[in-house]
């Protein structure tokens, strides 16, 4: 499904963060992945904080002067789906790789929305840029966890 409005974009963003937070909470609660427990919990908390922060950014940016008829063309919901399903056979390394994919996908979404909204919704664009930077650094953190796990 194509995303045409700011409202649709914010709804999808909210869903992605919610799904991501649940994913990390489940990981943190699973003894098999206790090695990354604290990081996962911190990520889950941050996802919730991001969600609230971005909702506020949107609500504070959008005014009756905002170019609401402006179409966010070229954004497709299916391009940003994240896989957070956990199965028994997933090792800690698999989980870290999966988490990095989740981060990458949400990062991509944030970057794309930031680019599309730069012209007419600059504040929101900056806010998405900020979240994207954070997602990128989280992906690096997950990759270093993976490296540490393999080394140690």
């Amino acid at each position: 499904m194509d995303l045409y409005t700011a409202s649709a974009i914010m709804s999808l963003y909210g869903k992605l963060e919610e799904q991501s937070a649940r994913f990390y909470e489940d990981l943190a609660a699973n003894e098999r992945y206790s090695e990354g427990g604290e990081v996962f919990l911190a990520f889950a908390r941050e996802d919730k904080r991001h969600r609230g922060m971005m909702l506020r950014a949107y609500q504070e940016t959008i005014t009756d002067a905002f170019e609401v008829v402006h179409s966010f063309s070229g954004l497709r919901e299916s391009d940003y789906r994240i896989d957070t399903e956990l199965t028994e056979d997933l090792s800690y390394s698999d989980i870290l790789r999966r988490a990095a994919e989740v981060e990458e996908r949400i990062y991509r979404f944030c970057v794309d929305v930031s680019e599309k909204s730069r012209e007419l919704l600059d504040d929101l664009s900056h806010a998405f840029e900020g979240v994207a930077e954070r997602k990128a650094s989280r992906r690096l953190r997950l990759e270093s966890l993976l490296e540490e796990h393999h080394l140690g």
């Binding site: 700011a6 409202s7 709804s11 009756d64 905002f66 170019e67 609401v68 402006h70």
Partner: protein
Amino acid sequence: MTVLEEPIKEVITLRNYINGEWVGSESNVFRDVVNPATMKPIAKVPISKAEEMERAVEAAREAFPKWRRTPPLTRARYLFRLKELLEEKFEEISRVGVMEHGKTIDESRGETRRGIENVEVAMGIPSLMMGYNLEDISRGIDEYAIRQPLGVFACIAPFNFPFMVPTWFMPYAVATGNTYIIKPSPWTPISQTKFIELIDEAGFPPGVINMVQGDVEAVNVLLRHPDVKGISFVGSTRVGRDVVYKEAAAHGKRVQAQCGAKNFVVVMSDTAIDSTVASVMSSFFGNTGQRCLSGANLVIVGEDDAFYQRLLRQVVEIASCIRIGYGLDESVQMGPLQAEVRKKQVLGYIEKGLEEGAKLVLDGRKFKILGGYPENCFLGPSIFEDVTSDMVIAKEEIFGPVMSVLRAKNLDEAIEMINSSSYGNAASIFTDSGKASQKFQYEVQCGNIGINVGIAAPMAFFPFGGSKDSFFGDLHGQGRDAIEFFTEKKIVIVRWF
């Protein structure tokens, strides 16, 4: 397609709010409030009797002395509580706005935010209301000016921004120590009811803010009652000038009547075309064209036919792709008109444009509604080409999604077109030239100017401009003008022996 949940599940019977109490109307005349997208009734609004409005005036008058003595900081704290409650109910109010008006959810959230911003600005009343002084105006004599509230003020609200417009006035009025009465539009009275619920929850003392639903009978009380010190009105020029301004002024009241508009958007050939087109879309078709700041006439300047064709082609192409449907559907970019009668009026103007010889390059009468909602209030964007300044569609306010495209040889001619209009609400220019925009800003006779901005909507801390047939009065809503409007300056000259 995600359709957001409707906050109104069953038909609500609306009541008045007088002296801190919710009271059912004594009237036996009720009007249905209909969701223009679904055509389902969502509320019944009473057309209150004159006596009910008189009781509201009495309550406001009685509440005034005590409220006036309440320190400005304490009065501001009520607004802080109200602001918090508005943030909590932000989404509900916005969705109610969609249901009663038809606008899209993005547009409605924008409206809610603008309303909250006015409450936020009014919170600064201890600073905003300060007077000024000068010592030794003569040897041993000091002089100072203090601002004092006047008493009861009232707002007569329009249908197009039912939540936001009363916030251009009410927060400033009560922050400065006046008491207030809101008379919502009977077409869209629900969001104001939600607003008053929050005012009640915020704990404003009884009588400080009142709301009476109704129509002409209730309005006439406000215009003539000796205890009402001032009226703020937003609506058509016919009612604003010929009824509200004349009648209220004849009864010695302060008046600010923000009225109709016919706004020009001027495009110079040096403009960044893609950004201009996106902004133009919102200007003409946002809120389904039912904004007093909406673009109505698009004036393309210059004799460069290639530029003209390119711009027009892009505008038509994007306008024809606007997704029309129920505003709670997140994929929708334009909702219905607020009522069938408004659609009929817009259709009449489209017919008129054709009769006058304008070329209809995009016919909004042919449209597709997402989700299969009834057609009653829906209309697509229409674009007329070959429009000339003397045509009715170029002169009269249509208040719907209709764009008239005109050509001007140069900027002087474009400015002449704007200044020939009887209205003076807003005008915008799209250009890369500082010189052209400076000339435009200087010479155009309008109250709000946009430079590369399609909707020149002033923020809460600036007054909402307007001139000629678009405004009657001298002090506007919002910002410092609002403080002036709601206070009287008293000058004190002091000498001690």
